[in-house]
Amino acid sequence: MAADDRARSFERALLAMDRVGARDTLLVAAEGADTLAVAESVVAPALERIGDDWERGAVSLAQLYMAGRIAEQIVSEVLPQVRPADGERPLLAIAVLEDHHALGKRLVLSALRSSGHAVADYGHGVTVERLVQRCREDGPRVLLISTLMLPAALRVREVVDRLALPGPPPVVIVGGAPFRLDPELWREVGADAAGANSAEAIELVDRFMGGAR
């Protein structure tokens, strides 16, 4: 079966919330193949299409959310290489700044992990202070910040400024409603890029990481 057909059947299984079917599709695909390539060619396109369908109103947010959760779980079982190792320095980290509503971040995190990225989750309701401290400790190469409220989005400026010294600072990718609704806001707060959805988050991460996982 071609990767594209596998992605289609993986997608169907995810939408039907059929964990077993989804897992089997991936197991077959992973046999004797480069596991990262499988994550990229089967899982990522399936999730991306579900994401597109959600944006068109054809799939509910609940299905997108469940699909992401199932994919993330299966990928870490079936493709153990992409499971983030304990104690390892993460190349990627994600947090929701100053807010307890974390669904957007959840979707992005599931998609990144499902496409083979090891991402440290710094959680939600994270203050500027705490986020800067975590980054100093871990030194991620890319920091993803999700926001829901405009005041929190504006405070990304403070995070960026405080991470500038002592360098080298991480690449900062932002997302969430305020950045979607104001396409110029990411520049204003000094971020390196903004993404409108999970697919764009993956694209941006790939761009800034130059293919590293």
Partner: protein, 348 residues
């Protein structure tokens, strides 16, 4: 033409799908009143008197067509004893969900509207607005029973509940509907003219149109039927083009629409059935020049205002605190200039 209409006449005329003297403008400012009173937001929201005074001063300043008796959306959760987080640069937010285990829903009871301090503060604000204003619509607000659970349970747990625990979902809706109806009617009794029914979870941003029919739609039909005054359903900038026909069947009179949808197409879809409220982008508004404000106002009027059935407002039902006064002045001035009916400049 004799004299100007009052704000109330203007709004009622447009609700009747006729053209009033000019396009009514709702500047839905919940926080700017604090600046007028020289207070921090937490202090401002701590007394209904402050909110009423803030609203009256803002209307005197900008001359728009409503008074807005709402504090913040996390208010029902606060009434329930849930955590809310105040900040001085933006709206009060709900904190960790008040329901940590969905089984709690079985014994959940609605808070008492008559004795809740935060609800009493809001009612006080509305009472004063009613006492001290004339011929201006006073807009109250409720969070819809269907949207409130995002703050009660957290979004993820709520999505699980909607699709996997129909029994507990029904029970939660029943409890939330009781609160919503009692709360809306208390605001109407205190002097509110109409109630904003905030229901972003019903938008196609969150649920598909089919899922809406099974869930948010039924909840809205049941709830709005028991609210003893006109309601305006607001999707808080979530998308709604795909559900407008059904929405009209919920008994609502007004729909608050997103800047991400084509206003002219929405107008064609609801003309004569629902009044549109919207749809200036509140997030970019922060950076608008006077010229841009004028251009945005003109574009919205051109798309939504012909024939009446249109109230100009932001697209979320709340203008961010960061939007400068100059921009609000520019919006108000442009509405007065370009919103005068008949809209002759449109044909030119």
């Amino acid at each position: 033409m004799t004299g100007e209409m009052t704000s109330l006449e203007r709004v009622l005329t447009t609700l009747g799908h006729k053209e009033p003297d000019r396009v009514p403008l709702f500047l839905l400012v919940t926080m700017h009143g604090a600046k007028e009173l020289g207070m921090g937001l937490q202090e401002y929201f701590s007394r209904g008197e402050n909110v009423a005074e803030g609203q009256l001063r803002l209307r005197a300043k900008y001359g728009h067509d409503c008074l807005y008796g709402i504090l913040y959306a996390a208010l029902e959760v606060e009434a329930w004893g849930g955590e809310v987080i105040f900040r001085d640069d933006g709206p009060t937010n709900s904190g960790e969900p008040m329901i940590q285990d969905v089984e709690q829903i079985r014994s959940l009871e609605p808070p008492d509207v008559a004795t809740s301090p935060v609800l009493a503060r809001t009612l006080r604000a509305i009472e004063i607005l009613k006492r001290d204003s004339r011929d201006v619509p006073i807009v109250g607000a409720v969070m819809s029973p269907f949207s409130l659970p995002v703050m009660q349970l957290g979004f993820e747990a709520y999505l699980d509940l909607v699709f996997e625990r129909p029994d507990l979902f029904d029970r939660l809706m029943a409890v939330n509907e009781e609160l919503c109806v009692a709360w809306a009617n208390a605001q109407l009794a205190a002097g509110a003219t109409a109630i904003g029914y905030f229901d972003p979870v019903s938008s196609t941003t969150v649920v598909t149109p089919q899922a809406y029919l099974e869930t948010g739609f039924k909840v809205a039909q049941r709830t709005i039927a028991r609210i003893k005054g006109p309601t305006a359903t607001h999707f808080a900038s979530g998308l709604c083009a795909g559900i407008l026909d059904d929405l009209a069947q919920t008994g609502t009179a007004i729909v608050g629409v997103s800047g991400e949808e084509d206003l002219a197409a929405l107008k064609r879809a609801v003309a004569g059935k629902l009044t549109l409220l919207g749809n200036l982008n509140g997030i970019t508004m922060r950076r608008w020049s006077a010229d841009q404000a004028e251009a945005e106002v003109k574009a919205a009027i051109a798309a939504g205002a012909p024939g009446g059935g249109f109230i100009l407002a932001d697209n979320h039902g709340e203008i961010p605190f960061q939007v400068p006064d100059d921009v609000l002045h520019a919006i108000a001035a442009a509405t007065r200039r370009w919103g005068r009916y008949p809209l002759d400049w449109l044909d030119a």
